[in-house]
């Protein structure tokens, strides 16, 4: 079934103070489609992980925030695009505990567990794009 975009916002992220307003925007959209509290919390936490990666590794970038529908389901789709160094080995980056930033390495694998759909594309030297969808009841 096709995923249809019902509304679309774009936010530029360049500094860590941009994270809170971005999270608030995501919350607004999630509330609008009556997403429950636990799913909202999972979505915003996932979004928070990805925006941090974007700032830390990708020198910031752009996020597309959409309300989407598929059949009777409504959801929030977030697309994080940066023009950073890219990820050479995606399957390695998706492993729990793998980090080049002396961190916990939980962001990417944890995010995947928290959302309904997850897609990561990256090209070394060009940048990284991560797309997630959380269905209201998903």
């Amino acid at each position: 079934m096709m995923v249809i975009s019902l509304s679309k916002d774009v936010m530029r992220i360049i500094k860590d103070q941009d994270v809170v307003p971005f999270r608030n925007r995501v919350k607004e959209k999630a509330t609008k489609i009556k997403m429950g509290l636990v799913n909202q919390t999972k979505l915003i936490t996932a979004a928070s992980e990805l925006v941090r990666n974007m700032l830390k590794y990708g020198n910031g970038g752009e996020i597309v925030i959409e309300v989407v529908s598929r059949g009777r389901e409504n959801g929030v789709r977030l697309t994080f695009k940066d023009k950073g160094p890219g990820i050479a080995d995606i399957s390695l980056a998706m492993k729990d505990g793998y980090s080049t930033g002396k961190s916990l390495g939980l962001g990417l694998p944890g995010t995947k567990r928290l959302v309904s759909e997850f897609d990561l594309k990256s090209e070394v030297g060009k940048g990284t794009t991560v797309m997630i969808i959380k269905w209201a009841n998903g």
Binding site: R23, V38, T41, E49, S103, R113, L114
Partner: protein, 131 residues
């Protein structure tokens, strides 16, 4: 610059996180707290996160850091009031809050801290009665 206030309550320090922490604010809190523990000789740190809607791996790491540094300075850390949705999310994210105790509310957290400190003092007293 914004700062999160740290309250002194007897042998404990209490921090209530009311706002969404952005990274620099969280890092400031981490260093302020560790300095306060050092300066006051506090035996326990209570971090009230009942108003916090999102704990991501960054926040989790800050809390973990506070706990492990406080431990070195002989203080225990208790996180109180974690919302159920936050707790569920943290488990799925896979964040281990190592060395961090949790309690339902500030009151329970204080009880927990007191019981931990009492145990220590009992041991001290035992040593003293040997004299």
């Amino acid at each position: 610059m914004d700062r999160i206030p740290i309250l002194r309550m007897g042998p404990f320090l209490l921090v209530t996180i009311q706002v969404d922490l952005y990274d620099r604010l969280a890092l400031t809190l981490e260093s302020d707290l560790v300095q306060m523990v050092n300066k006051t000789g506090a035996r326990g740190v209570l971090i009230d996160i009942s108003a916090v809607e999102i704990v991501d791996s960054f926040m989790g790491r800050i809390i973990g850091n506070i706990a492990s540094m406080s431990k070195i300075l002989d203080a225990e850390t208790v996180v109180v009031g974690m919302q159920p949705a936050v707790a569920i999310t943290l488990i799925e994210l896979g964040l281990p809050l190592k060395g961090v105790y949790t309690a339902l509310n500030v009151e329970r957290g204080m009880q927990l801290l007191r019981s931990m400190i009492d145990l220590d003092e009992d041991q001290d007293e035992d040593e003293e009665t040997d004299e």
